[in-house]
């Protein structure tokens, strides 16, 4: 049996074991560095639900029947809310967890303290698909509204901003009319995933997709970046309406795009394209804070080289300190022990605010990309 054949059988076996065992205790790991990785089962969770580790890596918000908080190092879980959240986000200081739940007429936003107490709650427009906090204590959310007409489906993307006083305003980012034929060609999962908004780590910029469905042409999507301080926008790429993998680089400076073409594109959000594409087989799932590690189709790669093999259907999420959360079927595992997953820069609140200002100025064309880079370096000296 060839090496390739053995590997394939190994992966299939691992998958079968997972499927058969259900709540199996182990995560099959293959690959050249499998034996130096540490894998620890954390908890069971509901498949395809959001996960949110706190910025300090101590707590994990997950969904198992309801929203829960789990101490990552061990300890008792805390039940927060009976609902199943659509999106989760921790504030930068880890003192608040925002969660969005489906509600009649829109979404219910709830803000929890780590001890489980509810700090605030309100209903907002649309079905929330992504949440983020800014250093200025503003909660921003991307949401979708769908309205069915005889001649098509109106697909409306909203940006909701909730200030520190609790006032929430919604603005329409983009509205598109999907042809009936386009809607029929998409199943509900793909329709829901047509727009995959991503907030930058600072919460000050949003990457989102605008769908264009012209009457006599094939639908496509434009990937946009928007600075939320001044609403300046820029188009980054165009893709079809098939599945895409999108991640924002940990420093918030680039879009990492897997458009299913067998390569990973790194596109600066506000600068000229560098052409530093790398080959990628598989679909991008997660990107490490330092940008060196990525998870694609269950394969953990460092700068394109295989580190470890997990079952192909796993979902993944890197913690701020570089460790990897792997969601395999209905289990969550913590993977550590691989070098180089450096923590994101620790910034003071003042540094965060100044960095946000510099990014806003760059987006508005008030300073050049070079001037931004020089100022950012000075900021962290």
């Amino acid at each position: 049996m060839t090496g390739t054949g053995a590997k394939s059988i190994g992966r299939i076996t691992a998958l079968l074991v997972l499927l058969l065992c259900g709540a199996c205790a182990g995560l099959p790991v293959g690959g050249p560095y499998a034996d130096i990785l540490q894998v620890r089962r954390l908890a069971a969770h509901d498949r395809a639900t959001p996960l949110a580790p706190s910025p300090d890596g101590r707590l994990l918000a997950l969904v198992r029947g309801q929203l829960r908080l789990l101490p990552i190092s061990g300890g008792a879980e805390l039940a927060l809310d009976a609902g199943r959240p659509l999106a989760l986000a921790w504030s930068a200081d880890g003192s608040r967890l925002a969660a969005a739940f489906a509600a009649a007429g829109g979404s219910r936003l709830a803000i929890f303290a780590p001890d489980g107490s509810v700090l605030a709650e309100q209903t907002v427009r649309g079905r929330v698909t992504a949440l983020s906090w800014t250093p200025l204590d503003e909660l921003v959310a991307a949401a979708v509204e769908l309205e069915q007409f005889r001649f098509g489906l109106a697909y409306r993307q909203l940006l909701i901003r909730r200030d520190s006083a609790g006032t929430a305003t919604a603005a329409v980012l983009h509205e598109a009319m999907l042809k009936p034929a386009t809607v029929r060609s998409l199943d509900s999962d793909r329709l829901a995933g047509l727009m995959v908004p991503r907030f930058a780590p600072l919460g000050d910029e949003l990457i989102y997709l605008r769908v264009q469905d012209p009457p006599a042409f094939t639908p496509y999507r434009r990937i946009m970046v928007r600075n939320l301080a001044n609403d300046t926008e820029r188009e980054l790429a165009t893709v079809g309406i098939g599945p895409v993998g999108i991640a924002c680089g940990a420093d918030g400076e680039e879009l990492v795009l897997d458009s299913g073409e067998g390569r990973l594109q790194r596109i600066p959000l506000w600068g000229a394209a560098t052409g530093n594409d790398v080959p990628l087989s598989g679909r991008l799932t997660a990107l490490s804070p330092d940008g060196h590690y990525l998870l694609a189709d269950g394969r953990l790669l460092r700068d394109g080289a295989l580190v470890a093999d997990f079952p192909p259907q796993v979902a993944g999420l890197f913690l701020a300190d570089g460790r990897l959360l792997v969601a395999a079927a209905e289990e969550i595992f913590l993977v550590s022990g691989f070098a180089g997953g450096n923590a994101v820069r620790n910034m003071s609140r003042q540094q965060q605010e100044q960095l946000m200002t510099l990014r806003a100025w760059r987006a508005a064309g008030l300073i050049s990309a070079d001037q931004f880079r020089a100022a950012r370096e000075r900021l962290f000296k």
């Binding site: 100044q354 508005a364 008030l366 300073i367 020089a374 100022a375 000075r378």
Partner: protein, 430 residues
């Protein structure tokens, strides 16, 4: 028999109706109704040559009664081709389109400007008019205050009178005065009180030139020959300017040493450039205030400009109404006082060049700077005694720099330097 008589009678009537009008056909009525026109025609070269009413006015009397059968320059051009050709090549030939001013001779002209007046590929001006100031007037005001002069494009009668052909009319410089006078182009007043004008009045054209001598030598109807600036006093590009200057020196050389004439006109060029510099400075002040949102009212808070909408307009299409006070000062500076300075210099009139022109230009600049200071001071007072947000101040300055850079008011190097300075200041806010 009766039927035959009726047929003959009807045929005669039809013949009369269908037959073309001859001059004597018109005179029967117009001798009584417009006796002056008839007298002038009779005594004119047209009258002597048998060029009758129909030859110029056509035969649609109903149209004439409505006042829509004016004789166009093109009709005159059917016989007077040389004059017509020269006329259409000159600024007179685009009088109805001169709101913008033909830019074809200017340096680095924007190719898109041609479409204001011309269809693609055509050298003929379009029939619609492009002057914002005209569009702001009532039709009555536009007719009397604008068209009566600017119709020179299409009406030889503007200078020649409607029915008299005596060349004494058009050889008298006073014929130019109807239009070429007043605050924005007082060539008549300048010339009259210049050495040329005074000597011409006492000694005649063989002694000192009048308008026609310099600008229509040998009856050439291209009144733009010899010019080196646009109607807004902007100098032509090198090639067009050299051509114009050489044409004018050929005229001056009819009386003067060419070197002397060249020196005088070159001095005029310098005065022109100095005046333009002052205007440019004023323009920069106002554009800067607009960038800062300090004009009162701002362009988006007034009735829209006919062409530019809510944008600030300081070029040839600027208005003298629905503007801020500082723009009104600038209108006078650019439209009146610069014109007097430049045209005064080229017409060798010291008082217009200096007191009516250059002194007023400089006083206008004083007024504009004072008004700018007042507007800025008003903003500072509005902010109050609260400690200014330094970050916001830096951002405002960056925004101003961006606007200045976009309109070419600073170089790329200056922009880079100022941005770096502001970033330095920002990073020190810790």
């Amino acid at each position: 028999m009766n039927r035959m008589l009726v047929t003959v009678f009807l045929t005669l009537i039809a013949g009369l109706i269908a037959s073309p009008l001859r001059a004597d056909d018109c005179l029967g009525c117009h001798q009584g109704k417009t006796p002056a026109a008839v007298k002038q025609w009779r005594e004119s070269a047209h009258g002597r040559a048998g060029v009758g009413c129909r030859d110029c006015h056509g035969s649609d009397h109903a149209l004439m009664v409505k006042g829509e059968a004016r004789v166009s320059a093109k009709q005159c051009g059917a016989c007077h081709a040389k004059a017509y050709g020269e006329h259409t090549a000159s600024r007179h030939g685009m009088g109805l389109h001169s709101g913008w001013g033909c830019t074809r001779s200017l340096k680095g002209r924007d190719q898109r400007e041609c479409s204001f007046c011309h269809e693609p590929g055509s050298s003929l001006p379009r029939s619609d008019i492009h002057c914002a100031r005209f569009l702001k007037q009532s039709s009555e005001m536009g007719e009397i205050g604008c068209n009566r002069c600017h119709q020179v494009e299409n009406s030889c009668a503007s200078c020649h009178s409607s029915h008299a052909t005596d060349l004494r009319i058009v050889r008298d410089p006073a014929v130019c005065a109807t239009c070429h006078m007043g605050p924005d182009h007082p060539q008549w007043e300048m010339w009259q009180t210049s050495r040329h004008g005074v000597l011409n009045a006492s000694m005649g054209s063989s002694f000192a030139p009048n308008c026609q001598n310099c600008h229509m030598g040998q009856g050439n109807h291209n009144v733009s020959r010899g010019l080196t600036v646009s109607s807004g006093s902007i100098p032509f590009g090198a090639e067009a300017a050299a051509k114009g200057r050489s044409e004018m020196l050929a005229v001056c050389g009819g009386c003067h040493a060419v070197a002397m004439a060249a020196r005088e006109l070159s001095r005029g060029d310098t005065v022109r450039d100095q005046g333009l510099k002052l205007v440019k400075e004023a323009e920069g002040i106002i554009a800067g205030l607009n960038d800062e949102g300090l004009l009162d009212p701002m362009p988006d808070k007034r009735p829209p400009h006919p062409f530019a909408g809510s944008q600030l307009v300081l070029d040839n299409q600027m208005l003298y109404e629905d503007t801020s006070h500082i723009e009104r000062l600038f209108f006078k500076m650019k439209k009146y006082d610069l014109a007097k300075t430049v045209k005064g210099a080229y017409h060798q009139n010291p008082a217009y060049t200096h007191w009516y022109g250059n002194a007023e230009l400089k006083m206008d600049l004083v007024d504009i700077k004072a008004e700018a200071g007042r507007l800025r001071g008003r903003k500072a007072n509005a902010v109050g005694s609260a400690r200014p947000d330094e970050r916001r101040q830096i951002e405002e300055q960056l925004e101003l720099l961006k606007k200045k850079g976009a309109r070419g008011a600073i170089t790329a190097e200056e922009l880079e330097r100022e941005r770096r300075r502001l970033l330095e200041r920002f990073l020190e806010l810790r």
